[in-house]
Every structure is written in C-alpha cells, then in structure tokens.
Symmetry: C2
Subunit: 383 residues, 2 copies
C-alpha cells in the first residue's frame, strides 16, 4: 500500500512519554507547592465563601489518584472496559468478596436508585428513619411504593426496636444510612447485625456506609460487609466521594450477592467514567492519603465539638464528615444569617427545623465557622 500512515511509531510513543513527564513533574513538585492534599481545594481562595454545606472533602484527594488520571489522559477516547474490571478487582480484594459481588456505579447514588426501582411496587413499603437520607425513599415513592419513617431516639440514634416494630407484611426493604445523614450517629454493630439476621424473609437490608470510614472504629469495627460475605440479604453502598475526596469524579459501588446484583442490573445506566475508575483504583492503593483524610476529619471534628461543648450547644455524636447541632433558630433563617457572613451551611432536614448540619472543612474553615456561628447565635439571643 502506498498510503502514508498518519501515526509514526515515534509519534505514538511521544504522547505516552509526555504523560509520564507530567506525572514525574507533579511528583517532584509535591509536597512543597503542588498537590499536597491539604492544598488541593483552592477554588474559592481566601475570598470565597466557606462551603460546609455539601459534605465535600476539604482535604482534597490522593496524589496517586491525580497521577493515575494524568497518565490516563491520552486514552479517554476509548471506553473504560479494562479500567472498570481493574477497579472491580481492586474493590473485591478490599472487601474480600468475589468480583461478581461488586457493582461499580457513577457515585453511590445509582445503587440507591436502582435498589428502589427494583423493589418498589404499589402496596409495598420501605422502612427508614427521619431525619435521614432520602434519595432511596423518594425514588421508592416515585415508583408507587410507600415509605414508613421511624423517629430517632433521644440521642438521635437509630431505635432498632422501633424500626423492627414498623416492619409489616408489605415491607420489602429497610434502608439505613450508617452513620446516619444528617445526624452522624451510628448504631452498635452487634445490635445491627442481630437486627439484620432477624429480618423476616423477603425483607432486604440496605445499609448505606458512605461515611463509615470516619466512624470511631471505622469499617473494621462497624461495617456490615461480613453479613454480605455470609450470604445474608444485605446490600451495601460505598462511595469515593467522601473520605476519598472525589465527589466530582462520580465513583461509588454496591456490594451484594450476585442474585441481588442481577435484579438491580435491570436498572443500570452505566458504570463510572474511565478517569474515575483509574483514580479510584489508585486511591485504594494509597493508605497514606486515606489515613491523612481520616485523621484530619477526626481532629477538626473534635475541635468543633469541643467548642460546641464550651458554648453549651447540643449536637448529635458525629461519626461522619459533618456535625448536626441545635441552633434553636429556624434553619432557613439560620442559613441566610450564616450566608450573609460568607459561610454556607446545610439545608433543612425535616422535621428538625431548628437544627443545622455543618460539614467538616479544614481547620481554618471551621475556625471561621465557629467564630461566625458564635456571632450569629449571640445576635439571635441563643448564646
């Protein structure tokens, strides 16, 4: 053939080379100025608002994830088949389950939505708590199902006896976010295991562990993964948006036995994107970032609750990336007062309209928050 190839071998190699150079350059710059995780989130600078309204990770994300993204950049014109398989393998190894128990998704939200779609039907109900995370139950209702919401106890924790009492012959699912969003409370793992083992036949436990890495004792002490391994009727959801700090990349996953995965798959709309896949896989191989993220969250969280203690402010014991506190001010009003001082706090969580959820930001951000909080509370005659 006389046709001149568009790509010479030399040119083909060069873009790989350049990607590697970039990666090397970034590594050599860090941690002095470049991608040290504490410095990643700089979008707002010191001028912008303190954004502690969306449970985003102010400590950034793994440098290794960033390197993985940069190295993959030349290849995003191709679909993510291999990268998805590699992510499944990495997750399966971490969770110690077979690969066919893992369903990678674009954030963990789709696992919740798919479960709701798969189980909702007129006359059927899902039991959950209030206040709680509502994505699954809202979808369940859209698809004709009903929701039965159980109040939390006085400590704003799950009252598993009350949850159990709400289950009836039409219940097909129990949805528990653990730690609970917005309260941040967790439930004793042994009690939760006993509760799940004791569920009637045909009732699936959906445990949303989005924030569980940040609990006292972490996954090791608190995860329900052992029940999944034992073949119980449990669906777990996890995400790379929180402790791993990659909310914008949209990577999460469900863990469940293959028969459940098959049932949910009818509603699947596609896995994570390729850059998300390689970043998530790299994050799982970066214990240093993970430890930094967990310890930063815990130390700043303690700083906040210590100050709330000094101020005599009531709050729920926080095990996630946020603190839920009683302001005594209607939340819409409180949000506006804080926003006027350049601090964005969480939305209303019915029915607790005079409480506020505040995400944990950096130490600097939370110092600003505490100072503005005190000012606003004093202005409202609450301090």
């Amino acid at each position: 053939m006389s046709i001149k190839p568009l790509l010479s071998g030399m040119e083909q190699r060069s873009s790989r080379l350049v990607a590697s150079l970039f990666a090397a350059a970034a590594l050599s710059l860090a941690p002095q100025v470049a991608f040290s995780q504490h410095e990643v989130d700089t979008d707002e600078g010191s001028q912008g608002p303190v954004k502690i309204n969306g449970n985003e990770n102010a400590f950034g994300y793994s440098q290794m994830a960033m390197m993985a993204i940069m190295q993959e950049l030349p290849d995003i014109n191709r679909y993510a088949f291999e990268e998805t398989m590699e992510l499944i393998d990495a997750i399966a190894m971490r969770e110690m389950v077979p690969g066919d128990y893992i369903m990678p998704t674009a954030g963990s939200g789709p696992v919740l939505v798919m479960a709701a779609m798969a189980y909702a039907a007129p006359g059927k109900n899902v039991v959950s708590v209030e206040p709680g995370y509502t994505q699954l139950i809202r979808t369940f209702e859209k698809f004709g199902g009903e929701t039965k919401l159980v109040a939390l106890n006085d400590e704003l924790e799950y009252d598993l006896e009350a949850v159990k009492a709400a289950i009836d012959e039409n219940t097909v699912m129990v949805y528990l976010c653990n730690p609970n969003n917005p309260t941040g409370t967790i439930v004793d793992p042994d009690e939760l295991k006993a509760f799940i083992r004791d569920l009637p036949d045909g009732v699936v436990a959906f445990v949303d562990e989005a924030y569980l890495e940040l609990s006292e004792g972490g996954l090791e002490a608190n995860s329900m993964i052992s029940l999944v391994r034992e073949g119980e009727d449990v669906i777990l959801a996890r995400t790379f948006s929180k402790v791993y700090g990659m909310a914008g990349l949209r990577v999460g996953y469900g863990v469940m036995k293959p028969e459940f995965k098959k049932k949910l798959s009818d509603f699947h709309m596609g896995g994570p994107n390729k850059l998300g896949c390689v970043a998530a896989t790299a994050s799982l191989q970066d214990p240093a970032f993970f430890e930094m993220s967990v310890s930063s969250y815990k130390s700043v969280r303690k700083m906040v609750t210590d100050r709330l203690d000094e101020l005599g402010i009531e709050y729920a014991t926080p095990h996630g990336s946020f603190v839920f506190m009683k302001t005594g001010v209607p939340i819409k009003e409180f949000q506006a007062l804080m926003e006027a001082e350049n601090v964005l706090v969480g939305r209303p969580f019915p029915p607790m309209f005079d409480w506020c959820r505040v995400s944990i930001g950096t130490e600097e951000e939370m110092t600003t928050f505490l100072s503005v909080f005190e000012e606003v509370m004093k202005g409202q005659g609450k301090l």
Copy 2:
C-alpha cells in the same frame, strides 16, 4: 483564635499556579510531540490489536478539553454543580434552545434508557428498525413493553412508509438512530421531518443523532433539532463519545421540551462527572478539533469504501464512524479470523449475520485492516 490555619494564602495560590504551569507546558509542547490529536490514542502502540470494533474515535480528542481537565484537577473533591450549569449553557447556545431543554447525562445511553423507562408499559409498543441500535428497545422490553421491528429497504436505509405502517393504537414511541447503527445510512431530512410531523398524537419520535456530525451535510442539513425548537414531540440524543472522541469520559445529553424532560427526570441517576463537564464545554469551543475529526473520518472512510469498490464488496452508504459491509462469512467466524490477525471488528447485528461493521480508525489502522481483510476474504474464497 490561636488555632493555626492549615492553609496559608500562599499555599492556596500555589496549587492553582501549578495547574496553570502544567497547562502552559502542555500547550508549549503541542503540537510537536505532545497532545496533537492524531497522537492521543497510543494505548496499543504498534504492537497491540487494531481496535475497530467499538466505534471509538481513533483521532483522539480536543487539546482544549485536555487542558480544561488538567486545570480542573485540583477541584474534583467538589461536586460539579457549576460546571454542569456551564455545560448546559454551552449546549443550549449550540442547539439554539433554552437551557431547560437540555438534559446532560453520563454518555447519551442514559437518555435512551430513561426514555424507555418513562414510556414502556404492558400493552404499549415502540417501533424501530432491524438491524438497529438496541439499547432503548431492550430496556423498553424489560419494562413490560413490546417492540415492533421493521426491516430496512434494499439500500439498508429506513423505509419510512413501512415504519409508519407498523404504528398502531398502542404505539407510544418511534426510535430511529440516524445515521443508523450498524448500517450507517441516513434518511432524507425533509422526508423524516414530514414523517415526524405526521405521527399520531401520543407517539413520541426519539431520534438518536450520535453520529450525525459525520454525515454528508452534517447537523446543519440533517438534524431534527428544528422540530424540537418548534415544539414537536421529539427527543434528540447526542454524545461527546463519537466525533468529539471522549467515550471514556461519559458525557452526552438529550434535547427535548421541558414537559418531556420532566417525565424522563423521574429516572435520572445523575449527570456527567466534573472533568467530563469541563472537557465537553471546552470541546464545544474548539472548532479546529471538530473539523479535524470530521475531515479525518470522512477521508479515511472514503479510502475504505474506495478500496471496497475496487474489491467489489457490497456495503451500505456510510454516514457515521463505521462501514457495514457484506463479507458472506458468518460474523462470529469472520471476527475470529480477523482477531487471529490482530484486528478486532464489530459484533453480530441480527439478522444480518454475514455482514460486518468496521469502525473507522486511523489511516494506518485501516490500511492494516484492508490488507488483513483482503487476505481473510481470499482465504474464504470470497475474493
């Protein structure tokens, strides 16, 4: 307060600075060695297989998109709210419709799946063609609906009269991929417009224009967007995976009037990731890459069809990123014979089991393909 901020102003600025340095460095390297689009897809090098099985873009993607991704890297710990709005604005401007007509999704697949979920019901049917793209109709069937498939005409084009004749009182949707996948044929735009205007009340036209930029005349001549603007019952789907070359990033969108968007939104599982948003927005502002991609596809596509003409091989007139040709060899067997020579070709498309869909790769890749093709066809006594 005596608490030392984790982030100094200097450090905050530095990671922005480094991102800018990277972008500048990449720009200064290109086009000599770095990110020239012709060199982006190098994963396989010259050793790997020729992958012309998945309608991926072998010409890469926009340098401006890559720069946009790199500049966004420090901020992927935050959700993509603003970036999604910016993408919607950019798309709305391009399509010349209001922003509330645009539904950005993780690839265009979710638009197809959501439409199927929204309209499928027992006793209802969707009319489409065979062979055609099956994602929407498979979902429609999963949700209890029926499909009525109409044969193509002798030119492997839509037979709009036959499609019209298949519509009955239970039809709720007509799905047409234009150009059709796998045949690559298009339909006369005036005939299609008349056909859609003439649809009975309650029948929605879903036109999947994933490949339409590559048709003779392009979007300008062939898109049904004008009918959307006029308020007709039309849903369009478009993607950044094909002519824009970002299949791995998962960005696509639907265009439809707000009442349809509301109906589909019940099934939404989330928009594109943040890097996908900024890359897609940047791609829309990079006419140079778009022109390069379109002209490369067209010139290599012509090289392939010219050779098929010389060889006397039958094929459908291609208007997409692929050519559908008659091999006379059962496709599973043909795939294996080609794979043995390191060339991966398209999967079976029932009922045309002795035809093959070949994606357009680079000139070098298609030169390899043509040489292997000739060899294999001779070996099978077909040449």
